[in-house]
Structure formats: C-alpha cells, structure tokens
C-alpha cells in the first residue's frame, strides 16, 4: 500500500501528525456503529421481554401482585414443581458424577459414542421428549394396558412429570463435569490410592473438592431448567388443576383464563429464579473461571 499507510513523521513546528485509519482495528465510527447495533439488538430482543414480565406483573399494584399467590392452585403448582425438582435434580447429579467418573478417569472403547448419547436430549424437541413417555406409558401406549390393569398411573401423574423433567435436564451436570475431570487427569486419585485411601474416600476427599464449582454450576443450570421446563412437562401433565400443574403450566392456565396479572406475577417468580441462576452462574464464571469447564472461560 502507498503513502496513506505510512506514518507521517512529526516534525517540530509543523501541524500534528495525521491519524491514519489503523489496518488492524476498525475505525472509531465503525466501532460505535457495531456496538450500537449489538447493544440495541440485545436490549430490544432480550431485555425488553424481561422488563415486560415485571411491568405486567405489577400493572395493578403490589396488592394485586401478592394476591395472585393466594390461589390454592398456584400454591400447589409451586409445591409440585419443588417436589419434581427435588427428585429429578439429585438423580441427575448421581448420574453426572457416575458418568464423569467412568468417562474421565478411564479409557475405553466407544467413549465418544457414549458422550454423544449423553448430549442427545439437548437436540430433541421438548415436545418429543414428553411424547416418548406417552408412547410407552399412555393409555394407548406400549405398556398402557398393563399399567391400567395394575392400577398404576405414570402419564398425567407425578412419575410422568419427573421422567420428562429428568429427560430434558439429563446432560446438564454430566457435561459440566466431564471436560473438567478429563483435564484434571488421574494423578491425584492415584496418589490418594497409593497412600492407602479407599475408592470412595478418594472420590469424596480428592475428586469431589476438585470439581465442586463445576458441580455447583451444573446443578444450578439443571435446577433452573427443571423448574422452568414447559414443553415436555406439558405433554405428560394432563393439566389437572391443583394436581398435575407445575409453575410454568399454571402460568399458561392463568394466561389462557385472561388472568394476566396473576399469570405474569407467577411468571415473575420463574423469571426471578432464572435471573438469580444467571447471576450466580456469571459470578462463578468470573471468580472460579479456572475451576469450571474450559468452555466457559471467556
């Protein structure tokens, strides 16, 4: 390139050197335009809906907002959601720990195939996740007649809700732990074993402390999704008021009843849960970025 990329040598008494456009970064104008585009897009598409939840929830004042939580159906939805999460999340924690131990600490054939299977639920539509249990356990399903004969109910009952929730939150804990434990290798565990610790002691005092922040990270995401899941749960719930409605399903029912303040009030609780999760997650990334999975360090 010719003269315009050569710096003009400043000499005494002459005008200040001309600032030429840098060839390794964008011009200030281009930067400003790009930043405005990005921030505008994020504010318009992501922050506006979040603001709408709280504005709509408080549209008729704090009194109407609080009144929304006196509805017994809403309270039983909150209770049911907590119960479902209390069953689904611990099961997925146990699975995540077992899977990461087997995959990260040992070499075996078919490992990458197993990894893809663990990630599979993320690429299945929530509606399809719920549907597959209906095909198995529904009235016309494979095991439907057998279940009916033995008076067992899975679909339109708690077990169906739990199964669907486990399905959609399946990979969360495992996929946080596996890459980190693979990075950490096996030398610390081998040292503990050679010093006489048993297998469980090694896991409890060596492995677990090493992955505690990643575990917390995975559990947070798993729990948020478990409490907020809508599509999969909607298929297996049957929408029995006060019986099989979780919080997101209760939001739908209130909304479809044109009870907008109550719908948004209940939704604001879920939004709050999401925000708290996001805040802790972001905090963990900043504070313990080196102790959680490599994918989150940026």
């Amino acid at each position: 390139m010719s003269a315009d990329t050569l710096a003009v040598a400043p000499s005494a008494g002459t005008v200040a050197p001309v600032r030429l456009p840098s060839p390794v970064t964008e011009s200030p104008v281009a930067k400003a335009v790009l930043i405005a585009l990005a921030v505008g897009f994020l504010a318009f598409f992501l922050l506006l809906p979040l603001a709408a939840v709280f504005v709509e929830a408080f549209r008729k004042g704090v009194g109407a907002y609080l009144e929304s939580f006196e509805d017994p159906d809403t309270l039983s939805a909150v209770w049911l959601t907590v119960v479902v999460a209390l069953i689904a999340v611990p099961l997925n924690i146990v699975f995540g720990l077992a899977a990461s131990w087997a995959i990260a600490k040992f070499e075996f054939k078919g490992k990458s195939f197993l990894l893809s299977l663990i990630d599979l639920p993320f690429s299945v539509s929530p509606v399809v996740s719920g549907m597959c249990y209906v095909l198995l356990f529904g009235a016309n399903g494979v095991l439907g007649p057998w279940l009916a004969k033995h008076d067992l109910q899975i679909i339109f009952a708690l077990p169906g809700l739990v199964l669907a929730t486990i399905f959609v939150t399946f990979p969360f804990v495992a996929r946080e732990l596996i890459p980190l434990m693979q990075e950490q290798g096996t030398s610390e565990e081998e040292a503990a074993l050679s010093l006489g610790a048993g297998g469980f002691r090694t896991f409890w005092s060596v492995t677990l402390p090493n992955v505690r922040w990643a575990l917390l990270y995975g559990v947070l995401l798993c729990n948020a999704r478990a409490m907020g899941e809508f599509g999969a749960v909607s298929v297996v719930s049957g929408h029995l008021r006060g019986l099989t409605n979780t919080i997101p399903l209760q939001v739908e029912i209130l909304y479809n009843d044109y009870n907008f303040v109550a719908a948004f009030a209940v939704a604001s609780v879920l939004a709050g849960l999401g925000l708290v999760t996001l805040a802790i997650k972001t905090g963990l990334e900043w504070r313990y970025g080196d102790q959680i999975s490599a994918a989150h360090r940026h």
Binding site: S22, T25, V53, I118, V124, S125, V127, F170, G274, L278
Partner: protein, 286 residues
Amino acid sequence: MPQFRTPSAIPGFGLTYGFVWLYLSIIILIPLGAVVLWAASLGPAKLVAILTRPDTFSALRLSFGLSLLAAGVNAVFGLIVAWVLTRYSFPGRRFFDAAVDLPFALPTAVAGIALTAIYAQNGWVGSLFAPGSLWASVFGPLKIAYTPLGIFVALVFIGLPFVVRTLQPVLVDLDKELEEASATLGARRPTTLFKVILPTLAPALLTGFALAFARAVGEYGSVIFIAGNIPGVSEIAPLLIITRLEQFDYGGATAIATAMLALSFVILLLVNFTEAWSRKRLGHVR
C-alpha cells in the same frame, strides 16, 4: 480378544459404567426407541401419507422455514454481538455479555407470554405498527403477534445465545498475528475482516446457525402464546404433535416427531462434520 478398557489402578469403573448405561437406557434410549419402533410400524408409505397431509405439511413447512429465517438473522446479529463483546471495551460490556444467556435463563413459557404482551396490538412494540400508528399511516397496519411474524420474533429470541456462545471462544482464540500479517501485506481493515477473519469463523458460525436452527424447529413454549395457532397459517409442528396426542392419534404424532428427529440427527451430523473438517484445516477450533 481386543482390550475394551485400558487397565487402571482406579476403582469403580464397573459400577459407574454400568449405572451410566442403565440410567441412560431407562430415561433416554428405551423411550426414544419407542418412537423409532412406532414409526417403523407405520411403514414408509403411511409415514409419507401422514407427512404430506395438508395440515401436517404446512405446519412442518412453517416450522422449518421460519426456523431457517430466524437462524439466519441470528447468525448475522450473533456475529456482530460476539465480535463486539470480545473485541471492544465499552461501559456495560459484562452486563450485556451476561444478558446473552437470558433466553437460556428465562423459562420458555415466561418468554412466550412476555413476547406476546410486547408484540400484541396494544403492546410496547405492537402498538407502533397497529392501526392508527405512524407506521400504519405510511405502510398500512402490521400485525405481529398471532401471525407467522410473531413466531419469527420468538425464534430469534431463543436462538441468539447459540450463535454468540459458539463464536465467542473461537474469537478469543483467534490469532491477532493473522490480522497483522494481513495488514502488513497491505490489506485494508474491511479486506482483512472479510477475507481473513470471516473464513476462520465460518465453521463456528455454521455450527451456531445449525444449533439455533435445531432449537427453533423444536421450540414450543415461547412460540405457542405468540403464534395464535391458526391451523395452516400459524400452527407449528410441535403443537401439531400435542394436538395429535390429545386425539390419541399416536401414529400421526410419531410421524411428525420422526421428521423432526431425523432433521435434528442430520444437523448433529453436519455440526460434527464441520467441526472435524475445521479442526483438520485450522487445527484449533473447539
């Protein structure tokens, strides 16, 4: 016999490995297997007959078409957002970086009713295009909620983080020396951006696009409230599955689900293929 597992001093392989397969089978493999078996029992002829029924076909076309469009918009704006967040410093950068995860953090039903409230005729954005607005007096009124346009808005909302979060680590790892080399060879900044940086980002961009697309096709919660669900016009494929299940038409539901599963599978393959290809070519994309 070839060794299945490399010998190790660490205990617990049998227990954990066995549990992983047991749990995986009960929760994921057997239920998904039921879908595959059910579809297989329909047979290809019946499968095609169901999928080409006008209502089913238009729902699939709507879901796939709008998802493609939304993923495209997300690819463009996701690239800009990822670039700005990794390369520039400006006040509130960390805040906006965290905000990218909002669609993951906000439960889909909550996002659904919030978007509907905003884009309805009396909402913050909807009223700007409703009859009587400045827009309506110039271009005629535009209805967003309860039309395919509303579905598109919801799909843009849920797809954005996939593109941004796929691109960010690649942008961080991007070698500045490449850009400097390009500059010393006389390239102006736009040339460097489009001829050097963009091709390096292409595999990650494609992956992000594919992930956003796959999510959009299967999305239910954030869409059904804003869609209006008019059969043949704004009825999406996942909703049609639920309708069929409620009619105890398991065959019909399975056929639609199979079409969606097949697509997710193709997309997953495509993503894995691009990643393998770019690893070979560039040596560092995660």
